[in-house]
């Protein structure tokens, strides 16, 4: 799998993401500057976490207008895989590559703590090393992760099985207490219709090494590596 990480000004988890991808694939991902315009020969494009353009105005809004976005759009239209984590998820929604928007956390505070995610379906390149219904732990670190979409959109996402992960208790219960940022229907991550574009708020890339507290995020990267090996 050949992976690229897009670097927007103000992004700060590109290193974390590169470490996780290198662990899984055995080689360093390509870092692509936001002013570049081509993504040739890439299987997976990752938009990492951080504060692109300071998250001023709205999180991800300015990055969504970057020159590289046209290439990302083309890559997605061709059926290429795209993953946006945290700020990357916000950028994908701002760019219209994923539906909905990420509002300020309901508590109006930045949340930096571990959360638990329930895998809603495992038959995707991203989740194939998890079981459907499995719960895994991931650090979250965001001020604007409160997923919002209108009811029709939410119904469609659920109806088409496009919810990727939900905030859950460690036992897998989907309830209000587990929904730290107030997201609609506990949604932590969603897919585009072709299941090849994923956006999620928490950071599986920060939990791929026992030394840093666990390996709960590792199956995501191992799964991607295996699923896209043939690509």
């Amino acid at each position: 799998m050949r992976a690229a990480i897009v670097v927007f000004p103000g992004i700060n988890r590109e290193r974390d993401m590169a470490i996780a991808l290198e662990r899984a694939t055995g080689h360093k991902p390509r870092l692509v500057w936001h002013k570049e315009t081509a993504l040739d020969g890439i299987d997976l494009v990752v938009l990492p976490g951080g504060f692109s353009h300071g998250d001023y105005l709205r999180c991800g809004a300015m990055a969504a207008q970057a020159p590289i976005m046209a290439a990302i759009r083309t890559h997605a239209e061709r059926g290429g895989h795209v993953m946006g984590v945290c700020n990357g998820f916000q950028i994908l929604t701002e760019a219209g590559l994923l539906p909905g928007a990420l509002l300020r956390n309901a508590s109006l505070r930045f949340l930096s703590q571990d959360c638990h995610l329930r895998v809603e379906r495992a038959d995707t390149a991203f989740a194939c090393h998890y079981q459907s219904g499995q719960v895994f732990r991931a650090p979250m670190a965001h001020g604007d992760g409160n997923y919002f979409a209108d009811d029709d959109t939410l119904d469609r996402l659920e109806g088409e099985g496009l919810v990727a992960f939900r905030y859950a208790t460690p036992e897998g219960t989907i309830d209000r207490a587990a929904n730290l940022n107030g997201s609609a229907r506990n949604i932590a991550g969603i897919y585009a219709s072709n299941l090849r574009v994923l956006g999620l708020m928490p950071h599986p890339e920060d939990l791929v090494d026992p030394l840093m507290g666990g390996t709960d995020g590792k199956p995501l990267f191992d799964g991607l590596t295996q699923a896209l090996a043939a690509a």
């Binding site: 700060n12 951080g50 353009h53 930045f110 703590q113 670190a141 001020g143 030394l211």
Partner: protein, 731 residues
């Protein structure tokens, strides 16, 4: 409009009559407004250390592993593998009182710049915070703003905030302390310094544009607050963490080339102090043309530009043939880049604006004749030692109250607002261990970092308190298995013109020095913040210490969380010292007695032994005894590991409350699989130990804490008390 330059104006600028006379002597004429401004900020307490310098000079600053001690933007120590750690702590107390969010945010920004200006990538932030009485609405607003500000800045720049400390005391009601610390790492052969060189070399300004921000911030940080401090509000600066992030990346990118001759952040007193210090250190002169300075506002005067404290700016001296390369890098990152002058051989700083020479000052006298005061000192009288104090409530209620009190309760509400994992190298997050542990990307090696100070000890006995603060950081680094290397300090005190305050300062330095020498643990950087008083009332003297240590292998680091199936051993001697303890304050309602004495020889031998056992893999968890004493430490270990503990009885010769809550120094609790073996080895080394309990058997649930006499506290009750304060207070 033009102000008349005279002694009255000099006084407004914070210069005494003597100091102004010295300016006149150096200049041989009446200075211009800009010149007077330069003298006043360079000779302010904040920049000149005029009251503290004589004492700071006595601190031990050398060790074989120290690469740069005090005098540079930050201290640098060798950490092995060809790498060095760069670190410093700095205060932003006054700005944080005026505008808590921006004050704290720009404090973080400022200390980050001191570290990356040396070529290091910042890898960790910490903060030492002191607030007033929590029952005051103002305290709540300040805490909320400061915590948001630290998070708002640190999270955005992508440097993990991994540790720190928070205390409450009414003495900080009108004067909170916000001390921020940054640690960076670099290749030890690629350290950048600030001494300018190369006659004719361009002086380059990069970063944000200059506005009328914080003019006279440095002198504000050097003056006591009066009731009308609202008047000084326009000096507040707004931080732009996004630009800071770009500046970090752009500077590090440029530092990978050979373009930079010297570099210095524009901190307090902005363009003035950075240009004066760079030229002064290099023994050269500097010519600045202010027309070239990127400006955010119109019609700025030379005086305003020289004194502005606009954030996120740096000054560099470049090799002339690398100017274009440097410009291209800053263009890429959308940052201003302007050649604003050049290095000269005149030994003077010459500032021109719109064709007029606005300042022309000889640099040597500006530095050498800077005021230096041997202020009178009065020793703090030794406190009477505390007689026996009866236990009014019993052990269990006292524990529940203590672990819920503002000084000991869970800090999760605070730390959950700080991104502690960004960078992917955080081995021990806040609350997991006595020190934060951050791995070096690409190496097995890790840094351990902590901040500590117990101001109530320092107030009661400044020398012992200074010693204790240093020893506690050393102990906390040891408790994770790290080899302590060096400290940074932030001396927060009251008005130095009062002999009692200067006496506290001198004694604290004395105590710190003794500890540094005994522990081979020198001071490599620091900061002094004086005049922390409101209407004549001083804060508790607070020499905050930031300690740094190294682990050759991050895998060796341990935390405080207990696991089942272990024995708990106390190493060190508990005599039941209740003087100045939290138990005494929270349970008996007294702030009295002498602080617990520190025995530096015992500290060293016990610490070295504990570290040795940790590195040998014999210790599962370790926690030092500090605020709240033995039982609080055990409760914290139990909660952190979600593992119950059965306790042995207190020894008969010490009153139970003194045993459980005394704050004796130099003690650790270790969790070990084989307590007898540990005790034997300690005994062979002639160190005092005592078995104090066992964790629940593997696979069984437990009662939380279970005492020998059958009393228990459930884990839920412990947690409920521990977790309550901040969320209830803030919501």
């Amino acid at each position: 409009m033009a102000k008349k330059i005279n002694q009255a104006l000099a006084r407004e600028f914070g210069l005494s009559a003597d100091e102004y006379q010295r300016v006149l002597d150096i200049m041989g004429r009446t200075p211009s407004l800009t010149e007077l401004g330069v003298f006043s900020v360079m000779w302010s307490e904040h920049c000149s250390y005029k009251s503290s310098r004589v004492w700071l000079k006595t601190l031990p600053t050398k060790a074989p592993w120290v690469i740069h001690g005090p005098g540079e933007n930050a201290g640098v120590v060798d950490i092995g593998d060809g790498m060095a750690a760069v670190f410093k702590m700095e205060s932003h107390n006054h700005p944080s009182f005026i505008e808590p969010y921006q004050g704290a945010a720009t404090g973080v920004g400022g200390i980050l710049r001191d570290v990356f200006t040396m070529g290091a990538r910042p890898v960790a932030n910490l903060n030492a915070l002191r607030f007033g009485d929590p029952s005051l609405p103002r305290t709540k607003r300040v805490v909320d703003g400061v915590v948001r500000g630290i998070g708002g800045y640190g999270n955005c720049v992508g440097v993990p905030t991994v540790g720190g400390e928070i205390n409450f005391h009414p003495s900080y009601n009108g004067n909170p302390l916000v001390n921020a610390m940054t640690v960076g790492v670099l290749d030890k052969t690629r350290i950048f310094l600030s001494a300018a060189a190369g006659i004719g070399n361009p002086v380059v300004y990069v970063g944000s544009k200059t506005g009328r921000d914080g003019i006279h911030g440095a002198t504000m940080a050097s003056a006591e607050f009066a009731a009308d401090s609202g008047e000084k509000r326009p000096t507040v600066q707004v931080g732009d963490p996004f630009v800071e992030k770009l500046l970090i990346e752009a500077c590090l990118e440029l530092m990978a080339t050979d373009a930079i001759v010297a570099i210095q952040d524009m901190g307090a007193a902005g363009l003035t102090s950075s240009s004066v210090e760079m030229a002064g250190k290099g023994g050269v002169g500097i010519q600045l043309d202010l027309d070239a300075v990127p400006q955010r506002e119109t019609d700025m005067t030379a005086y305003e530009m020289m004194l502005s404290e606009s954030q996120e700016r740096m000054l560099m001296v470049l090799r002339p043939d690398r100017q274009d390369l440097a410009r291209a890098i800053f263009d890429k990152w959308d940052l201003d880049f302007a050649v604003i002058g050049h290095i000269t051989d005149t030994g003077r700083i010459v500032v021109t604006h719109k064709g007029i020479t606005e300042a022309d000052i000889p640099l040597d006298p500006l530095a050498e004749q800077a005021p230096l005061y041997h202020r009178p000192t009065v020793e703090t009288p030794k406190p009477a030692s505390l007689g026996p104090v009866a236990d009014p409530v019993g052990i269990v209620p006292a524990l529940l109250k203590l672990i819920g009190c503002p000084d000991l309760c869970s800090r999760a509400w605070v730390t959950n607002q700080y991104d502690s994992t960004v960078g992917g190298q955080t081995v021990k997050r806040p609350g997991a261990a006595d020190a934060a542990v951050v791995k070096l990307d690409g190496f097995n090696r890790a840094l351990a970092i902590t901040t500590d100070c117990t101001p109530r000890y320092v107030a009661a006995d400044p020398e012992m308190g200074g010693m204790q603060a240093v020893a506690e950081t050393w102990r906390n680094l040891t408790a994770v298995g790290a080899r302590p290397l060096a400290i940074t300090d932030n001396m927060n005190f009251g008005n130095p013109e009062k002999p009692e305050i200067m006496g506290q300062f001198a004694a604290a330095i004395r105590g710190m020095s003794k500890a540094c020498i005994a522990l081979d643990y020198p001071v490599v950087s620091g900061n002094v913040s004086l005049y922390n008083e409101t209407e004549g009332k001083g804060i508790l003297p607070t020499p905050a210490i930031g300690g740094l240590g190294v682990l050759d292998d991050a895998h060796d680091a341990i935390g405080i969380g207990l696991k089942p199936g272990m024995g708990l051993v106390l190493i060190g001697t508990i005599r039941g010292h209740l003087g100045q303890s939290l138990w005494l304050r929270e349970i008996a309602g007294q702030e009295a007695g002498a602080p617990p004495p520190v025995d530096l020889a015992a500290e060293r031998s016990i610490g070295d032994f504990v570290r040795g056992r940790i590195l040998a893999g014999a210790v599962q968890a370790c926690h030092d005894i500090s605020d709240g004493g033995l039982l609080v430490a055990i409760a914290e270990m139990a909660m952190a590991g979600n593992t119950s503990v059965s306790l042995e009885a207190a020894p008969g010769e010490i009153a139970p409350h003194a045993w459980w809550f005394g704050e004796d120094q130099g003690c650790y609790i270790v969790s070990v699989l084989d307590p007898s073996a540990f005790i034997v080895e300690a005994t062979v080394a002639d160190l005092p130990t005592r078995l104090i309990g066992h964790t629940q058997a593997s696979g069984t649930g437990g009662a939380g804490l279970k005492f020998k006499d059958g009393a228990t506290i459930s884990m839920q009750d412990l947690r409920a008390e521990h977790d309550r304060f901040f969320p209830e207070w803030m919501n």
